[in-house]
């Protein structure tokens, strides 16, 4: 380790970041102060250090003034550490002789007290100047990237990401929890604003997933464990038994016909319970794979063991039906993982004022998607549960959105799908349709035009958040109706509008198990519970775990075009790593000074990655640098102080503490 | 080279707007343009008639258009903004809406709808005569202060043909051509309230107060109009406003034809300058009754 008493020549560079820093921190004073610090040869301030001239300035000083240490006081190292490391390298100085000081995110942006901010910056620079003296010259390691990719979730996002990667010749494992891929999009009838049929554009992609030689599709399966790190993940996948063997089944569906249940009795999940299915079923006709699944909860054979097993008869020599089938586990190694686990629709029961579950004619948007769908339970006829065709329909926006009592965010798609449903309902029934909205949000290509179209179709738009939906007839004209009470804030009237059908435009939420999933993949959730991207603008599909990417609504509510775009981006990010062939590691691995190690083994259990091994004959611990991820937990635990960590040496941290606290 | 235009004065120019007609005729004479008044024309119906019965309202202008057509006019000069709009609207709506076209079927107007072009003198002077020619005929220098050109509403809206709907400038250009400084102000097309001064008086008067005050604030010494109703509203109630507000308004409200006519050598009488109610002092000073010296434009 280079000792501080060696010839240390430090250059300190203070960034204005326009006015972001300069408006609060007195950058001139800071630079002047820095110049007075020991070993500091030069100290400058500059408008934008990250700009080319800014970096050239550093490079030139390194060359001209023979600097061997550089301190940059600017933004967070998470933003520009790499930029300035490159600047050092361009001056033929080992990039790890850089020390960054965060005086933007953690100083100028979080206080308005200028003297205090400047003082804070001085303390931090002083600390950095002491620390950097003890920085060492380090080399980055290389981790090879396994070209296989796992995509978790078989909705439109997962499908698109999987196909993009597979078409680029990469091996893809697509894991879907449901018996079929397709996700929410498969349930939709039309898509806004173009009104093209969802199935028509989705099902071809679904079947090409099925037929693609590079894609291994595991439906009815879940990821249970993830080990490893970027380029080298080990993933365990639990495959639930569907009791019909995919390799043997021909998809003739004879078994469904022959089931002892002559007519379907079980509420059909895919149709939001508006239709019934049998214990042996396929979710929908275009399901992929087109292989039935047996639901042991309702199958007589599983419940009583006394079934005629007509399904097995029907299957005949194929012997595809196997009631002894057991849960299996697959384990694969992949280099990258794309999470496309989607969203969960808001549970309308959580807003009791709207009477969902209480009044049969209050529907959720997803239910109505099935009602208007030609292949839906009513064959596309919009009829109420009692068979009547609604004459008047009220569509309530923002159910479970923009509400501190449920979810505070705007779900982004509800306005548009509400307009779509309004159009379809009017088209199917000629009913008088009322939309109740807080704000009309149509920020997309062709969206505003679609809104205009609806206005001219004489759909009513009442601006005001619905207060209540009741069956309370205040007036004879309201008998046997659902009455929507709302302030029409534009007409300036409180109104009671009796309707036959209420549609609740429910918002989008994170999946119920988003929390477990993010832990399994070691990523973070944003406040709402959606997965957190690495940077909202500059790394929107990356996470803080290298090699794990996000696509679709698991990252936040978005429509189909945005989802597909994001899926493509995630695939591209993975491809970039794969085609580079390796990633460079941060050289912050721990290492043991064997002469000092007492062989007490305290460190061994400390490492969750079992990177610390104990050499029996030498009776010493050793860290396997390839497996060490650089957390430094073993270092802190070592009683003899024989374990060290590159980039975070005890000495460096002591110097930092000293620097912070010794007021020069 | 005397071009002849059909001329539809409208009721106001025979009454409160008399000065407009006088100055218009004088100006056109000085420019060797002749106006031929329609025979037995009838009221255009203005806004009030339209508020009672649309179809027969269109019928009224249809008759006028018919008369113009039979007299063989291709251009019909219509100085009053209300008349201008109603005639123009009749043509437009008859073309757009069959039911309206039907309501005037058979009348001689049916043929006239597009045959006769509705012209406003401001636009006519700007397009047909042109600034150069007006300049060349200029014989008097402007003695008054800067003026605020007030276009009002119905001349420029909704048919932005006489000038641009949001920021008309042609009157300013015409006046500047004869050396009259004009001020820029935001209210040049804000409505004067029309007949409101006669109906809900206090509202009407307040709208005009707003206009007068802003014009003065921008340094205008007079307001110049193109519409008899605007001129009347701004001119007639200044005494009342003085009384109510205690602010010393006494601002001449002139027709653009009066100023142009004067620059081209018309005399005060033939320009109806004696018919002003407000700002008579300044008017006497700027437009002396008997002008011996006739200074030729340098």
């Amino acid at each position: 380790m280079l000792k501080a008493n060696g010839d240390i020549r430090i250059g300190v560079y203070v960034c204005h970041c326009g006015t972001n820093i300069a408006a609060v921190v007195d950058v001139k004073a800071l630079a002047a102060y820095s110049a007075t610090l020991p070993n500091v040869v030069v100290s400058r301030e500059y408008k934008y250090l990250c700009s080319d001239p800014g970096q050239d300035m550093i490079k030139q000083d390194i060359l001209d003034l023979k600097l061997n240490r550089v301190v940059v006081a600017s933004c967070s190292p998470h933003l520009h550490e790499q930029t300035f490391r490159n600047a050092l390298a361009s001056g033929d100085l080992n990039p790890f002789f850089l020390q960054m000081v965060n005086i933007r995110e953690q100083d100028s942006w979080v206080t308005t007290d200028k003297p205090a901010a400047t003082q804070k910056a001085q303390d931090l620079v002083r600390a950095a100047a002491r620390r950097v003296a003890f920085n060492e010259s380090l080399e980055r390691g290389r981790i090879p990237i396994n070209p296989a990719v796992m995509v978790v979730g078989g909705g439109i996002a997962g499908i698109h990401a999987a196909l993009t990667l597979a078409n680029a010749g990469k091996k893809v494992y697509l894991v879907e929890r449901e018996p079929t891929i397709g996700g929410h999009m498969a349930q939709f009838d039309k898509t806004f604003p173009t009104l093209d049929c969802a199935a028509c554009i989705l099902t071809p992609k679904m079947s090409s997933v099925k037929n693609h030689k590079n894609i291994t599709l595991w439906t009815y399966s879940e990821v249970t464990r993830v080990d490893g790190y970027v380029g080298n993940y080990k993933v365990k996948v639990k495959r639930l038994p569907r009791y019909v063997q995919e390799d043997l089944c021909s998809g003739c569906l004879e078994c469904l016909k022959s089931c002892v249940f002559k007519e379907a009795k079980v509420p059909d999940e895919f149709n939001m319970g508006l239709a019934k299915r049998k214990p042996i079923y396929i979710p929908f006709p275009q399901a992929v794979p087109l292989v039935p699944v047996i639901d042991p909860e309702t199958c007589i054979q599983f419940k009583s063991g006394k079934c005629k097993k007509t399904c097995i008869e029907a299957c005949g020599d194929r012997h595809a039906i196997n009631l002894q089938m057991l849960e299996t586990t697959e384990e694969v190694e992949v280099g990258n993982i794309i999470l496309a686990t989607g969203f969960k629709a808001f549970d309308a029961k959580r807003t009791p004022d709207y009477g969902y579950g209480l009044y049969p004619n209050v529907y959720t948007a997803l239910e109505v998607e099935r009602l208007v769908n030609a292949s839906g339970p009513t064959g596309g006829e919009v009829v109420l549960r009692d068979g009547r065709t609604p004459q008047t329909v009220g569509i309530v926006h923002c159910v479970g959105s923009r509400d501190e009592n449920t979810n505070r965010w705007c779900s982004r798609v509800c306005c548009m799908y509400s307009l779509k449903l309004a159009h379809l309902i009017k088209e199917h029934t000629g009913a008088e349709v009322f939309n109740f909205y807080i704000d009309m949000r149509t920020p997309g290509k062709g969206f505003e035009e679609f809104y205009q179209k609806l206005l001219n179709e004489r759909v009513h738009f009442v601006r005001g958040r619905v207060a209540e939906v009741t069956d309370w007839a205040m007036d004879p004209s309201e008998e046997n109706k659902l009455v929507i009470r709302v302030e029409d804030t534009l007409a300036g009237l409180v109104r009671r509008i009796p309707v036959d059908m209420v549609v609740l435009s429910t918002g989008l939420e994170p999946q119920a198990d988003a929390e477990q999933v993010r832990r399994m993949f070691n990523i973070t959730c944003a406040s709402g519970g959606f997965f957190l991207e690495r940077h909202p603008k500059l790394a929107p599909v990356s996470t803080f775990t290298d090699g794990v990417f996000l696509a679709g609504c698991c990252q936040g509510p978005k429509d189909i075009p945005d989802t597909v775009a994001q899926a493509g981006a995630a695939a591209a990010e993975a491809l970039a790593l794969i085609d580079a062939g390796f990633v460079l590691t941060e050289p912050n691995a721990a290492y043991v000074l064997e002469e000092v190690c007492s062989g007490c083994k305290t460190c061994v259990p400390m490492c969750p990655f079992s990177a610390v091994e104990f050499l029996l004959e030498e009776k010493k611990a050793r860290v396997n640098p390839a497996m060490c991820k650089g957390c430094g937990t073993c270092v802190a635990a070592c009683p003899s102080g024989s374990i060290h960590q590159h980039l975070f040496e005890d000495q460096q941290i002591f110097e930092e503490i000293e620097g912070i606290l010794t007021n020069a | 080279m005397a071009a002849t235009y059909g001329y539809f004065p409208g009721c106001s120019l025979k009454g409160t707007g008399a000065a407009y007609e006088e100055s218009l005729l004088t100006l056109f004479r000085l420019l060797d343009l002749s106006l031929q008044e329609l025979k037995d024309w009838n009221c255009c119906g203005a806004t009030s008639y339209m508020s009672i019965d649309e179809n027969s309202a269109f019928g009224l202008s249809a008759r006028n258009l018919g008369i113009a057509h039979e007299a063989g006019h291709r251009d019909l000069v219509t100085p009053c903004s209300a008349c201008y709009l109603v005639l123009r609207k009749t043509q437009d709506y008859a073309a757009k809406y069959p039911q309206i076209a039907k309501s005037i079927e058979g009348s001689p107007a049916a043929a006239a709808l597009d045959a006769v072009k509705i012209r406003h003198p401001m636009e006519l002077l700007y397009n047909d005569v042109g600034m150069a020619r007006i300049k060349s005929k200029m014989v008097r220098k402007w003695k008054g202060g800067p003026v605020a050109c007030y276009y009002g509403c119905q001349l420029v809206r909704p048919f932005a043909e006489a000038d641009r709907a949001h920021d008309p400038t042609r009157m300013d250009e015409l006046l500047r051509a004869v050396g009259v400084p004009t001020v820029d102000w935001a209210l040049k097309t804000k409505c004067c309230g029309g007949s409101l001064t006669g109906t809900i008086h206090e509202v009407g008067v307040r709208l005009n107060y707003i206009l007068l005050k802003e014009a003065a604030r921008k340094g205008a010494k007079a307001i110049v109009t193109i519409c008899p109703l605007c001129q009347y509203n701004l001119d007639a109630y200044q005494a009342e406003i003085r009384k109510e507000t205690g602010e010393a308004f006494d601002m001449p409200v002139l027709y653009f034809t009066q100023i142009l006519g004067w620059a081209l050598g018309g005399d005060a009488k033939s320009l109806g300058l004696g018919r002003a109610i407000s700002g008579c002092g300044s008017i006497k000073e700027w437009f002396p009754k008997r002008t011996q010296e006739v200074e030729v434009h340098a």
Partner: protein, 142 residues
């Protein structure tokens, strides 16, 4: 005028949760007391008891350790290791006569910019109330 005592706090923030939360507080322009000085470590598990004692020895008025929530550690369980050490540390520091409020361990996730503010402001208020640290020796005579 008697100027109010401004405590100086040395903060050890883990690179993946609390340090990012502090960055988020910045990008969200959340304002909080300027009394902390952050030392970035990869994981709260790296925070060696010596660091804390050293900070107090060199005159820190308070030490704040920020890590990922239990179960969220970027390195799976580094924060647990810290938690175990922390219990012992607390006792030790007490024996040195350093008040309880001066040493604090907080779990703050990358999404909790607002929490950075509340934690730091709260700690600063407590330390202001507590006043400057009195060297152990003087304590004994008192």
């Amino acid at each position: 005028m008697p100027e109010t005592f401004e405590p100086k706090i040395v903060a050890f923030f883990c690179n993946w949760c609390t340090y990012l939360a502090a960055d988020l507080a910045g990008t969200s322009r959340i304002k909080y007391a300027p009394n902390t000085r952050v030392v970035r470590v990869m994981c709260s598990g790296r925070v060696d008891p010596q660091f804390i004692l050293d900070a107090f020895a060199k005159g820190a008025d308070g030490v704040l350790i920020g890590g990922c929530h239990p179960g969220d550690c970027h390195y799976q369980e580094g924060n647990y290791k810290m938690l175990r050490r922390f219990a012992l540390l607390k006792r030790f520091v007490k024996q040195m006569g350093i008040e309880d409020e001066r040493l604090r361990l907080e779990w703050i996730s990358a999404a909790e910019g607002e929490r950075v503010k509340t934690v730091i402001n709260d700690m600063v208020d407590k330390l202001r109330a507590l006043g400057p640290r009195v060297p152990v020796s003087q304590k004994e005579v008192a």
